[in-house]
């Protein structure tokens, strides 16, 4: 399969995503520039990486949403193309309206950079089919604004339709407020859209794709996509 990884000014996880998909998974991957006005043929999944696109000016993801490539990404997603937004990429997807809700300032006000545990709530998505239901994976977070918020109707829709993909949990899968690093409603760490082709998550699976970096729990997500596209 073939990935496209977008670089915005201020992206800083684009090369991690290229490394995870290209070097570790062994898939084809091309780097896309924020000023590009087309997406090359043959791309199965576009990754919007973490970072601080456009300096996080105004709101995280608010300016990136209007970069030329995003018009193409929205078209790509609306035609059924797969899009994965990680951290700042998730924030861009909510600002672009491809995913509901918004990411607020962490409840503690701190920028949090640490490993967290994610409980797999939906393993039937293209992004998680290599994970077992309720499987707990260790993945790092690094954000100041990862506190997922949406109105009660939207939350109900996400919950009722199995669109919550991951929740913050304990290492043995207990979902409680004490394992919620940022104040996200219902410990939500990642969601998908109604068609299941757009995923957003605050934690960074691409950073844990190689045992030499301490953990490779994250590679399962890229393997899931690879398996889905085979």
């Amino acid at each position: 399969m073939k990935f496209g990884v977008v670089t915005f000014p201020g992206s800083n996880c684009d090369h991690d995503a290229i490394f995870a998909t290209g070097s570790m998974l062994g898939a084809d991957v091309v780097n896309l520039w924020h000023k590009d006005t087309s997406i090359p043929n043959g791309i199965d999944c576009i990754i919007l990486p973490g970072g601080f696109s456009y300096g996080d000016y105004l709101r995280c993801g608010a300016i990136a949403r209007f970069s030329p490539i995003m018009k193409e990404v929205v078209d790509f997603a609306n035609k059924g193309g797969y899009v994965m937004g990680i951290c700042n990429g998730f924030q861009v997807l909510t600002e672009a309206g491809l995913l509901p809700g918004a990411l607020l300032r962490n409840e503690s006000l701190h920028f949090i950079c640490k490993d967290v545990y994610l409980k797999t709530i939906n393993n039937s998505s293209a992004f998680t089919n290599k994970l077992a239901l309720d499987q707990v994976i260790r993945i790092p977070i690094a954000h100041g604004e990862g506190n997922y918020f949406a109105d009660p109707d939207t939350i109900k829709e996400l919950e009722d339709n199995n669109r919550v993909i991951f929740r913050y949990s304990s290492p043995d899968g207990i979902v409680e407020q004490e394992f919620n690093p940022n104040g996200s409603i219902n410990n939500i760490a990642g969601i998908i859209n109604d068609k299941g082709n757009v995923l957003g998550m605050m934690p960074h699976p691409e950073r844990y794709s190689d045992k030499r970096l301490g953990c490779d729990d994250g590679i399962a997500m890229f393997e899931s996509l690879n398996s889905f596209f085979k």
Partner: protein, 84 residues
């Protein structure tokens, strides 16, 4: 065309916990301002806009707020406008 100056206040929507405001409120209490409450912190944007009339200018600014300046999912905005 008339030039207008606008001041736009953006706050988190009522009902959304404003952790910055809460922290500042707690600090104010700690330095002996117990009479201060309901602290909320927002953004302040000033800009100039050229339009046929005030109504048109407000219409433009409302669209600009919805489109970029504020995120209506989480923020309220208040536009104050005067002739330049």
């Amino acid at each position: 065309m008339q030039n207008y100056l606008a001041e736009i206040k953006i706050t988190l929507r009522q009902g959304i916990l404003d952790v910055q405001g809460k922290t500042v409120e707690n600090s104010l209490k700690a330095i002996d301002f117990p009479m201060i409450s309901s602290v909320r912190i927002g953004k302040f944007v000033t800009l100039a806009v050229s339009a046929e009339n005030k109504e048109k200018a407000l219409e433009i600014l409302d669209a600009a707020c919805k489109g970029l300046i504020a995120n209506p999912i989480i923020e309220d905005y208040f536009i104050d406008i005067k002739e330049a």
